[in-house]
């Protein structure tokens, strides 16, 4: 599905540059359900933005399918995002003046699907996330969990092969988080690759595999737990 090799990313902060991703190397197979964990500031969001072609990287290679994604033109990047990738954000990022249905339908607008057709399809996706009766409501009239469901329906409507979710449960209580994870598991079960950034071990435990980041480096499970004296002591 996707592969990163020796990806580096720097941020220019004033006069010095901040090395945010250091030789990041990993691979995600088709249909995997993967969590990316790490402390705050470890570079998780930066990594996810690169994977989502929302941001560039400075060196290394990022393969999405069998294409190298590197310094694409904006319109090319837009078209890849539109056709291959669905985004779910911590703060939902729904357009406040559009109804749930219109929000879900938006990616299809950029594919040139007619309004009628798009609303019809959007209604199906809303039904799938259990919000059929909320189609005509504005985001401001909905709970956090409901908003995130709308966002997930919107991420799915373009039939992406990859869903990228940056702390999708970060703003939700544990019960709602559980429901959202159920939904994402269901989606993964249909064959769509799902990557979730989280720092909630509960959430990570629902995935098949966890990639850990520390200070911009991918670390293996042992190294990661080494920072945790309790667990390290338990390892013989």
């Amino acid at each position: 599905m996707l592969r990163l090799s020796k990806v580096n990313k720097y941020y220019q902060v004033g006069t010095h540059s901040l090395h945010v991703l250091r030789d990041v190397d990993f691979e995600v197979a088709d249909g995997e359900f993967v969590a990316i964990m790490g402390a705050s500031g470890s570079g998780k969001s930066t990594l996810l933005n690169i994977l989502g072609i929302l941001d560039d990287y400075d060196s290394g290679e990022y393969w999405l399918g069998d294409t190298v994604i590197n310094k694409l033109s904006e319109s090319k990047a837009a078209s890849y995002r539109n056709r291959f990738i669905g985004f779910v954000f911590q703060s939902f990022n729904l357009l406040p003046f559009k109804t749930a249905l219109e929000n879900v339908a938006l990616p299809l607008y950029y594919q040139g699907v007619t309004r009628r057709k798009r609303n019809q399809i959007a209604a199906q996706y809303l039904e799938r996330v259990g919000l059929r009766d909320w189609a005509d409501h504005l985001p401001s009239e909905m709970s956090g969990g409901q908003k995130q469901r709308v966002a997930i329906a919107r991420a799915l409507i373009g039939k992406p092969r990859l869903i990228l979710a940056d702390e999708p449960t970060g703003a939700l209580d544990s019960e709602t988080s559980k429901q959202i994870m159920d939904l994402l598991s269901e989606i993964n079960a249909t064959g769509i690759t799902v990557l979730i950034v989280t720092h909630d071990p509960e959430v990570a435990s629902r995935t098949q595999r966890t990639i850990r980041l520390r200070d911009g480096k991918v670390v293996n499970a042992l190294e990661a737990s080494a920072s945790h004296p309790g667990i390290a002591a338990a390892v013989p």
């Binding site: 933005n49 837009a78 990022n93 219109e102 938006l106 607008y109 950029y110 309004r115 373009g158």
Partner: protein, 417 residues
């Protein structure tokens, strides 16, 4: 372009902040209304003056004798210049003159005469004229005709009367043709009743004038060979100043006037007047466009400014749209369309309000024939130009905000909480 879907998308964003949309639209509305009001006012002044000048040839020249101011050819200054019938032959030989109308007012300039019919009488202007006059001052006839060549040749005692003369001397409904009226004791047969095409003072004067054949007046009142003044038109292709120069030269030589003595012969050159008028209206129109256009420009800058603020406020929205697959082009086109729709829509309302305003003013001015302002008419082409200008202005207003919107990076937008 005519995708209903896109319009709905534009409408939904414009509707999302009604107050801002309204304030933006108002600037453009006001701009175009001002522009139309200014153009309308200009055209009202213009049509008012044209109403005054209507029925007059535009290549017209009048000349009359005054007093010499320079000694010449052994003659002292201060000598009165009087034109006579010999001058008629002289001027008829000038190739630049199209129509020549020698004229003489009975009793002299500004003198009125008592005219009567049966028991009724009044005082009016009596003019001795040639048939050529009808090419210089256009009349219509409520009855009969103007003086003709036979009247001149046979020195017939016929008269053409103005509307006010008729109303004063005849009972309403009476046909004046072939009736006899008495001018200073001499009977004349009425052959025509004129209706002037001119407005204002000129029109009043026409209505109060009687015309008799030039040759008749001389014999009937024993006036000799005097000519009061000459009215003439220039041949097409001859300009007014050139005609005047030739006429002055011929008359000066004949009357032994110094070539440099401009005051010996008085003149009124319609051509020069008219081009001054035209210049004035051109300037007026230019000023209207500049002032109205500046107001409109202020409105457009307002649109641009507010669109830019809007785009900045919508950074997050634009980021989300881009993350979902909006290309930079689609963002540019979204902002441009919003700008054009807003400008054009507000502008069209302004155009409609402007047309209504002018039509209303026109209807009022219609009932005030003495007003120096005529009905304002803003032509369809002006309106269409204004609309085209508006759409262009909307596009112009959209350029900056649209390029800004397109340059927004999705991650930065998404980070903006």
């Amino acid at each position: 372009m005519f995708d209903l879907d896109k319009w709905k998308e534009i409408w939904s964003t414009l509707r999302s902040n009604p107050l801002r949309t309204f304030l933006t639209a108002f600037g453009v509305f006001w701009g175009i209304l001002m522009l139309m009001a200014m153009l309308g006012f200009g055209s009202a002044i213009q049509s008012g003056s044209q109403r005054q000048m209507k029925g007059m040839a535009t290549n017209l020249l009048f000349v009359w004798g005054q007093q010499t101011t320079e000694s010449y050819d052994g003659l002292p200054p201060g000598r009165g210049v009087r034109f006579n019938t010999a001058d008629i032959e002289l001027l008829r030989r000038l190739p630049s003159i199209e129509y020549l109308a020698p004229r003489l007012q009975l009793g002299g300039w500004m003198n009125n005469f008592t005219v009567s019919h049966e028991s009724k009488n009044g005082t009016f202007t009596v003019m001795a004229d040639y048939p050529e006059l009808k090419h210089i001052v256009a009349f219509e006839y409520d009855a009969g005709r103007f003086i003709n060549e036979r009247d001149i040749a046979e020195q017939r005692k016929v008269v053409v009367i103005g509307r006010a003369v008729y109303e004063q001397l005849f009972e309403p409904g009476i046909d004046p043709i072939n009736k006899h009226i008495k001018i200073s004791g001499v009977y004349f047969q009425v052959v025509g009743l004129t209706r002037t095409l001119r407005g204002g003072n000129q029109g009043d004067r026409d209505a109060n004038t009687l015309f008799v054949p030039f040759t008749t007046l001389k014999t009937a009142f024993n006036i000799g060979d005097r000519v009061g003044f000459f009215a003439m038109t220039a041949k097409p292709g001859t300009d007014g100043p050139e005609l005047e120069r030739q006429v002055r030269e011929a008359l000066s030589r004949h009357h032994r006037i110094s070539p440099t003595d401009q005051l010996a012969i008085g003149s009124f050159n319609m051509f020069v007047m008219y081009s001054k008028f035209e210049m004035f209206f051109l300037v007026l129109q230019l000023v209207s466009w500049v002032v109205g256009g500046a107001t409109l420009l202020a409105g457009v800058i307002g649109v641009s400014n507010i669109m830019l603020i809007t785009v900045k406020e919508r950074t997050k929205e634009i980021g989300v749209r881009k993350a979902l697959g909006a290309s930079p082009m689609s963002i540019v086109s979204m902002v441009m369309k919003e700008s054009i729709v807003l400008t054009a829509f507000a502008g069209l309302i302004g155009v409609v309000a402007g047309v209504a305003l002018l039509a209303g003013t026109g209807a009022i001015l219609e009932h005030l024939p003495e007003s120096p302002l005529g009905p304002p008419n803003v032509s369809l082409s002006t309106v269409l130009t204004a609309v085209a200008v508006l759409i262009g202005a909307g596009a112009l207003a959209g350029v900056m905000p649209a390029t800004h919107a397109a340059s927004i990076k999705p991650i930065e937008a998404l980070r903006a909480e």
